[in-house]
Symmetry: C2
Subunit: 322 residues, 2 copies
């Protein structure tokens, strides 16, 4: 690498948008671009949109100064051949040699990794995980994902699929999960379920109770409820929103206790949509985790809010290059 | 190491007995000895009994030919200073520099590791895990312990406490566990609970039902029920014993699905007292695991019976040396 190469391109491939950015060696995004993914059009369209994004960035930032391109992709990513397998919500995409396709378009090195792992890496190198050598990164959003950071590196597992903490079952006889199992934590605190449960509670309230702030925030349309709305209502001390998020935090804490006991970890960094939630949610996770984890683990238990927000994907993807 | 050094001594430190053995480089025990631990007398007595055992073995096998001594100890073992912390059922034992104490007595290298990890290593190097690079070792006995083998090595975790799969909760609202949490798999399939549950089922049976073979095997004294008896009755096709073990296998499978999803593993080797159980128990674990684990993990799921039985502790401890 010569002294002239100063930045990397990070690409956060989502089912709705492709976010790409020019990232410097300190993990700072100096330029960025969002385009539609059109995942329903099949792999070649998606690849074209990625190539387009990179070309756009190279039109303003010289390719000669680029160390390489890093891609964070959903689904299982096989590092050996840079292929992406079964990303959810991508049509006609069983197994695609994505890294190879991007390498063919540009004469710079191309790296690829699972998207949750990229976000975990970003928090480890530049965010809330910087002070911890080992931690669990939790993506709390539509689903519940995870990345395991050991000795500042991703633990990928023998087949590249490690960290699926959303499918840790907290009740072997519990709610059905989309994955086919029962009681997965994702089925209790994922976006869809949280919104559904809030709706049910609001519909079941008596007329003489004070109206929830949530109803105001969605203009009376309960179909519009989503976790960011619940979080907003909780900030306004709405009792329904507070109860739901506290309960969700308690359940996540019980799942994390199992993970910590197995992996011998102490720290969880929580990102995803919920990382904008009020402080008491994080306290609720921590309290439940501390009450349930094995004694030798109790000291040093820490629940930390992720720092990089939506940028974690781009920054983490770029950090694959450096 | 000179060519003359041909064996290691492996010590399996239990709360009841200290099992020690002379083990060759192929993992074969060529001589062995069992003495009482007298764990209730405190650390110095236990150390004396270990030293006595090693002296006995050295009286028949020349110390000059010994590569070193390996110790498998219960509790949390800190590798850095060879100390053993809070082993259950050892009186007055908070933190003891066990490796140092043994080093002071003999002029050979001394190594130490957690006992479940030692058994896992033994199965990895010489037993049922030999054909697998990565697997989970499950100790199914009085409690439920575990050892995680990654790339043929122990995954110890940042603080040396990894692999506590007995304290993965399968029901956040479930049975109280001795550890203070709820729903730990150990509280459902550990020795004490299995025996208790069997007793309750037998006591609740109607007089006109065919008497269970278990009652015969314990001469009518239900206090004598233990997993080996249940396993024996199941071998004789006793329906109560079969039901209990099948149910236990199903629960263990659901816990293992969570572990496999997090660690990206496919294979579990099951040891401990239950490894003498009939084949259908292992089938029950496998069926439940396969039904619950994430799709990309389903291929290659294997539940394997441990091969080394009670010798795994000695052999694994000795293997720390080679």
């Amino acid at each position: 690498m010569t002294g002239k190469k100063t930045f990397a391109i990070g690409i956060d491939l989502g089912a709705t948008t492709i976010k790409s950015g020019v990232v410097d060696k300190k993990g700072k995004i100096i330029d960025q671009l969002t385009v539609e993914t059109r995942a329903n059009k099949g792999p070649s369209t998606v690849i074209q949109h990625i190539v387009f994004s990179v070309r756009e960035l190279f039109s303003k930032h010289k390719q000669a100064s680029c160390c390489g391109i890093g891609i964070g992709a959903p689904g299982v990513v096989r590092i050996e051949d840079g292929s992406v397998h079964h990303p959810p919500n991508f049509s006609g995409w069983t197994e695609v040699a994505l890294a190879k396709a991007i390498r063919n378009a540009f004469s710079v090195p191309v790296f690829i990794e699972n998207d949750a792992n990229c976000a975990a890496l970003a928090e480890a190198k530049y965010g809330a995980g910087y002070e911890f050598k080992d931690f669990l990164f939790v993506v709390w959003g539509t689903g519940i994902g995870g990345g395991i950071i050991l000795d500042r590196k991703i633990y990928r597992g023998p087949h590249g699929g490690a960290g699926e903490i959303g499918h840790l079952s907290i009740d072997y006889n519990g709610r059905e999960c989309n994955c086919g199992s029962r009681g997965c934590i994702e089925a209790y605190i994922g976006q869809r379920y949280l919104s559904q449960r809030t709706k049910e509670i609001l519909e079941g309230r008596r007329k003489d109770q004070e109206p929830s702030k949530i109803i105001e925030l969605v203009d009376g349309n309960l179909e519009k409820i989503e976790p960011s709305i619940i979080a907003e209502a909780a900030e306004l001390d709405d009792p329904v929103a507070t109860e739901i998020l506290e309960e969700a935090g308690d359940l996540l804490g019980s799942a994390l206790a199992s993970v910590m006991n197995i992996l011998d970890l102490r720290v969880a960094v929580i990102g995803g949509g919920i990382s904008a939630a009020p402080h008491f949610v994080f306290k609720s996770v921590e309290k439940s985790l501390r009450a349930r984890v094995l004694k030798p683990h109790k000291n040093g238990i820490r629940i930390v809010r992720a720092k990089l927000g939506n940028s974690a994907g781009i920054i983490g993807a770029a950090s694959l290059v450096f």
